[in-house]
Symmetry: C5
Subunit: 304 residues, 5 copies
Amino acid sequence: MIIRKKENWLRMLFIWKGSVLPQILFRLLLLLFISIVIVYFRGSFFNYKIQLNPGPFTLFGIALAIFFGFRNNVSYERFWEGRKLWGSLLNTTRSLTRQAQTLVQTEDKEEINKFVDLLISFTYALKHQLRHTDATNDIAEISGENLANKLKPATYKPAMLIKEMGLWVKKHRLKGDFDSILTVSFDQNLSELSNIVGGCERIASTPIPYTYKVLLHRTVYIYCFLLPFGFVDSLGWMMPVIVSFIAYTFVALEAVADELEDPFGLEPNDLALNSLCRTIENTLLELSDRDLKTPTPEKDYILN
Amino acid sequence: MIIRKKENWLRMLFIWKGSVLPQILFRLLLLLFISIVIVYFRGSFFNYKIQLNPGPFTLFGIALAIFFGFRNNVSYERFWEGRKLWGSLLNTTRSLTRQAQTLVQTEDKEEINKFVDLLISFTYALKHQLRHTDATNDIAEISGENLANKLKPATYKPAMLIKEMGLWVKKHRLKGDFDSILTVSFDQNLSELSNIVGGCERIASTPIPYTYKVLLHRTVYIYCFLLPFGFVDSLGWMMPVIVSFIAYTFVALEAVADELEDPFGLEPNDLALNSLCRTIENTLLELSDRDLKTPTPEKDYILN
Amino acid sequence: MIIRKKENWLRMLFIWKGSVLPQILFRLLLLLFISIVIVYFRGSFFNYKIQLNPGPFTLFGIALAIFFGFRNNVSYERFWEGRKLWGSLLNTTRSLTRQAQTLVQTEDKEEINKFVDLLISFTYALKHQLRHTDATNDIAEISGENLANKLKPATYKPAMLIKEMGLWVKKHRLKGDFDSILTVSFDQNLSELSNIVGGCERIASTPIPYTYKVLLHRTVYIYCFLLPFGFVDSLGWMMPVIVSFIAYTFVALEAVADELEDPFGLEPNDLALNSLCRTIENTLLELSDRDLKTPTPEKDYILN
Amino acid sequence: MIIRKKENWLRMLFIWKGSVLPQILFRLLLLLFISIVIVYFRGSFFNYKIQLNPGPFTLFGIALAIFFGFRNNVSYERFWEGRKLWGSLLNTTRSLTRQAQTLVQTEDKEEINKFVDLLISFTYALKHQLRHTDATNDIAEISGENLANKLKPATYKPAMLIKEMGLWVKKHRLKGDFDSILTVSFDQNLSELSNIVGGCERIASTPIPYTYKVLLHRTVYIYCFLLPFGFVDSLGWMMPVIVSFIAYTFVALEAVADELEDPFGLEPNDLALNSLCRTIENTLLELSDRDLKTPTPEKDYILN
Amino acid sequence: MIIRKKENWLRMLFIWKGSVLPQILFRLLLLLFISIVIVYFRGSFFNYKIQLNPGPFTLFGIALAIFFGFRNNVSYERFWEGRKLWGSLLNTTRSLTRQAQTLVQTEDKEEINKFVDLLISFTYALKHQLRHTDATNDIAEISGENLANKLKPATYKPAMLIKEMGLWVKKHRLKGDFDSILTVSFDQNLSELSNIVGGCERIASTPIPYTYKVLLHRTVYIYCFLLPFGFVDSLGWMMPVIVSFIAYTFVALEAVADELEDPFGLEPNDLALNSLCRTIENTLLELSDRDLKTPTPEKDYILN
């Protein structure tokens, strides 16, 4: 996630980091070069004039508007749904912590903290699964080597951790620390955790249908490549400037939509999962009267 | 579902598999041929000049934008709702497995696994119902011949399997393995399974109103057929190129929307139900400490 | 609901039944006739030339796009919400049937079937209320003459039937067939039925604000009537063809939106309530091991 | 709410009541007059020609489309959410009535009816709060003078009435008419009533951000006032007709959006709260075997 | 939140406070000045004519429509979701108050009021967290110095206050004031409070992806700066007027979207959190038969 303060309207026009300009610069310069060549030859190749005018671009425009309106909304919804799921994770882990502290009939603070640690391990395990990294070290640090080794071979670690919490609940129910009514309260929140894992897996494993992406990509790039021919006659030497700018907006828009589509990655506009994990860890530690850890620092305006 | 890695922006322009180009190639070549004939005769038939210019195409364009904006969104929402339902299926079966393992007062692991197997059978039965194939073999393999034979004549197999789970719960409640409070926890998740089945049936049995599809189809094709006449005068020999490209985007867009409308089929962009069934099976097997099966392989970039 | 198989792209252009063409043919022919007269007189009345060009139609176009985008989405959402409510009805009646079979401590299958029959009667009663027909015969056939006569004078029959189910639950609770915990499980699903009835009543009793409909209607028809004057000079004898086609898409679109607005009626694109009732009846009969009835047949591609 | 039957497509063009024409007639006539003056002087003031053409109106058009698309959707969503809340009110009061009748262990029908009367009073109290009128008379008539006097000074009457219901439930629980499990069933529906009140208060107290309304208003009116100058040269004496019609659609659209924004008022397109209150009252009376009251009559096609 | 009564259509055109005009006036005057200079030199710099016409602005227009349609909707949805969360807060605190009053078996009104005070403190603590101010004084005033001092060092004060409520519930459950069934009723509403806190934190901590904002900002301002060159030839001295007006709508629209994006701030169109806190406080005081405080007054049409 890019973290920048609100800028003055004038300064915002000249921002470099945080715009996608660095990523797409080469393509834009290429187009600028082509445009200049086209103006120089007045849109002719070996005396054959490419006959094109602004007319058809309005028709292409309809297609572009449909595609972008769609792609943009869908990408952003995926991003926002991902954020909502991690928000629910914060809420549900807090609620489970409160339940462990106020519903269980025990003075053994260690036992409660063990459950809270399972929740923190679960949070990190989910992050690692979504980013295809190994959760073992984090689990070992939080909940001990034993559990970490037990879960090492597991394919679906977060699901296995929910089962561990279920077994903790079972143990304490059988010990008589609470009755089956309060068990249900725990169980419902464990199901909620299960829904969160499943929701994240769904977003991560099901991209926007590939054919849409190919279609949008082609329409955008062929559109931008044809633009110089369409405007060379009416705009003259202003054409390369105008064309580069129009191309900038469209190409950049596609690039952002592409970043947001998989919100759990490490690109600049993706969700700051590291920071979210630390927030959840800290609020759970505060609720169980333990010391907080230092928040994840941003770097180059970017938090991940 | 089409599984392709992110490509370079340049390579993506030349992708063949995964675009719908193969499907609609004939129509586009036909249009290209017509366009060339029209340029050759300069838009006249037997000396009668078809008097058309780019003007009316903007008006058509309004209709097209409305239709596509609508058709596209609705098709994608159906696709995504189907995916969400299968995501819920994953979550709910995991939760039911956890409940069977942590709420039931029994040491008989076989009994628990029998319930988990009912969940797996249910998943496959739903897939078969949605794809109009026979679930009997899969049920027999997972839950035994007896159940498979009993369900063979049933029209609504998944609903019958939920009833079987209900009877399993009843049996164990009457045996005293849990009280009526925990029964309710099971019962709610069984209702959730019922909602998932009903949701899938709803999408599969209620297509987008037919009249919409006819209207969009006609507007798109008549639009594309009239395009050459509208642009022959202003674009000359560039016209066939431009017209083919515009037609490609619109015809392809309609074709994709058509695929996504029924997301449970076997077309390239449909949901990968086989793979989803295997994922659910494997996570439930892992939760009950059994061996996982090999995941469904992709073929030609396509997973179904 | 119109039931037609997917057609070849070429054949789909010439479909008659299932398009709204039959309904709006007269209006289109009228417009065609007017257009031909206008071409003949070159847009002049008694030597006074109606001075109009394609320019203002783009501005009208904005209004049309706003209206249609809105009307279309709202109508479809009403249609789809209606379908979802009937889908929930299927799910909830199945769940209640399962609950009656697995939560009640009785061997008296008759009693259970009586409850299931109440659910089926309820389904039919809802259909009759939404279509303003009399439910008495259907109720008599399914749940007996007594109940039918008792409910005959009732204004809100489905609500009264939910009360009947509530009384059935009360009777069996007082008999000791289940405790108050399981009573709550029934009660929640009865509330769900209540929500479904209320949702359907809401859609049926609250149309889209009338003023919107008048505004859209006027914009569409005045737009189409002015079109010939705007294009007579630039398109000549091609004008009547183009104008008729543009008018076809807009007028047809309004007609479909009008049909979908009240999804419980008997127009071709409305929901197939008869068929849905039969589906619900059959799945409940199958769950209670009784014989299924024959599904509602389609007629002329239409299922209602 | 405007109640008019479906009209013939031709008649619908000439409807007076139910369109917003009466409200905005003066402004349209003013514009018509200005337009005629402008045609007469050919767009010149004291020999200074206002140099304007249709070009910039397309750019304005973009702004208008954005504003209207937004304003329209938001207004309608507020209207529809208001309707949904009142639909939930119907469902929840019916469910609470059923619960009072089937969950409470008492033969005292009077006590049950007292509870149902509280529900009816609550419905009327909510209506009065939303319309800023005094609920005291209605409460007195339904639940007696005592309660009416007690609630007279209360600012949040509906919230106080939910508390009264809570006290009724408390009384009967302490009397042993039901256990704490069934208490929870009542309590959940009382919370639901609380959500409905809060939802209505939210819509009523938070209008669309004022700045949006000012912006849209200005864009629409300045647009319409500039239109005559833009089209006087190309349309001549047809200009006043065309401009008036375009202005009609935009000004009317804004007026309707303005009405729907606060759906609880007394304008023609607002929700028919009086009629909804009577419907709820009647269905609750029918459920408790009491006589129904006469439904609210419509007047001049309008139900409020 | 801006509080202004409905104005006459004419007066609304001349409103100053409540439009964003004051904020953006300097930029508009700058553009007006540039436009006048450009008309004076007829679009030439040192005899080099900037060759631009209205054509490319339609293409830019597509980009603008996509960006604004998106930015606008997302900003408003964030605003409205924030409002819904505070609406839920009202509903849930009312429900918890009712539960404390009707489910707890105690005559000790002080104890009940202590719980209600925790709810009020929680509301203020949430406001302070969202506005990055210190909640200690408000908590001290409502729930006493002890609690205020205890919570002073806490980073997540609202979450800690929910824990306090949980401990209150635990105390009374252990005292036997209610059983574990009614405990669950409290617990569910405490989880609901947790969801509300988490939802508000989510909106406050996750802005719209920064790249989108940069892209929209650039497109709007470069568009407006190029407009004068595009229209100088066709509009002459009318150009500065038209350009300023078009720029006003776009720049203002961006400014409003920017305000609504973070709805918990202190800008004119933000949510009136102070007033909402007072409303919640007053309704809870009324429910517990205590005296109401004076509502927050508006100032300069603004409530915050």
